[in-house]
């Protein structure tokens, strides 16, 4: 494909990505929202993060894998416990990586 065409596609991607990012703020920021909507929105961060995270853990290759061979499940559970317990970013990432790397090195 021509690089110029690629560039125009990138501009199109930019528009369709930016509009959903900016529109709610421009439309809603100047208005006062009903309490019920604000309450609904307060659950969005938790819901969206979990909706992105859980499939990555239970089906890392796309197929559901709830067995012992799924390293991400083995690493995800202790990382989760540590995250809730300590709220430490680095600790959570380091523990998860260490388990995955260690299992690959020693078991595979």
């Amino acid at each position: 494909m021509e690089q110029q065409v690629v560039f125009f596609i990138i501009l199109g991607m930019c528009a369709v990505t930016y509009i959903p990012r900016v529109a709610p703020m421009l439309v809603l920021a100047s208005r006062s929202m009903p309490e019920s909507v604000v309450r609904w929105l307060s659950f969005v961060p938790t819901a969206v993060l979990s909706a992105m995270l859980v499939p990555a853990i239970v089906s890392p290759g796309g197929e559901l894998a709830l067995d012992g061979g799924n390293l991400f499940l083995w690493a995800g559970v202790p990382a989760f416990v540590l995250a809730v317990w300590t709220r430490s970013f680095f600790g959570t990432i380091a523990l998860g990586m260490a388990i995955v790397a260690g299992a690959r090195y020693f078991l595979m």
Partner: protein
Amino acid sequence: MDREEMEKVIERKQASVWLEAARRFAPLAMGYIPVGLAYGVLAQKSGLSVWNTVLMSVFVYAGSSQLIAVAMFAVGASAMSIIAATFIVNLRHLLMSAALTPYLKKWKLSELAAFSFEMTDETFALHSARFSEGDMDRRLTFCINLLAHSVWVAASFAGALAGSGIPDVEPLGMDFVLPAMFIALLAMQAKNGLHWLVAGFSGLVSVVLLQAGFEQWSVILATVLGATLGAGVMAWNNR
């Protein structure tokens, strides 16, 4: 205080806000760098020029949709289908943007326009945790966003230059960085039992929808259903 002294104080403040931004962003960088590198490498393999590889990171700045786009470029997908896929994959930002709005009532339109351009999954999660704790420092917010965007662009550029010269990072467990990051971000968000119920429910719904074949819609649908459950239970309890 004379002018020179004042300038020194301002300079020191500027230095410390960047330091603070770096401290907040550092854990996220562990996710941005490997994914940015991988995107750069794949974009090269798909036939994108170095310029276009970097410009996509500047203009689009959304990791998963960029990876999907380069995979589609590689198989010669049409312009419309690439743009449509990008739109659907990034539609979840609509909900994230709306969720931050209650905190941003006092911001100028130009600030909202600039802030939302650099809102990714990760910066959204970080800022929503900050804002809910009352940390509304605008300068820090913009410094974090600029830093994050720069790191993403730089990592993409490095990946594009290195091509396939980048070593395999799987033995280091680097492919687990993103899930681990989301685990930590989720732990920062979930404040009480109801939040954990919402997290469990939307996670489960997301998995079910994904397995049922709703690949690009699973996240946004699971989010809408999860938030509705949370708001419903809360309204029921407050009766």
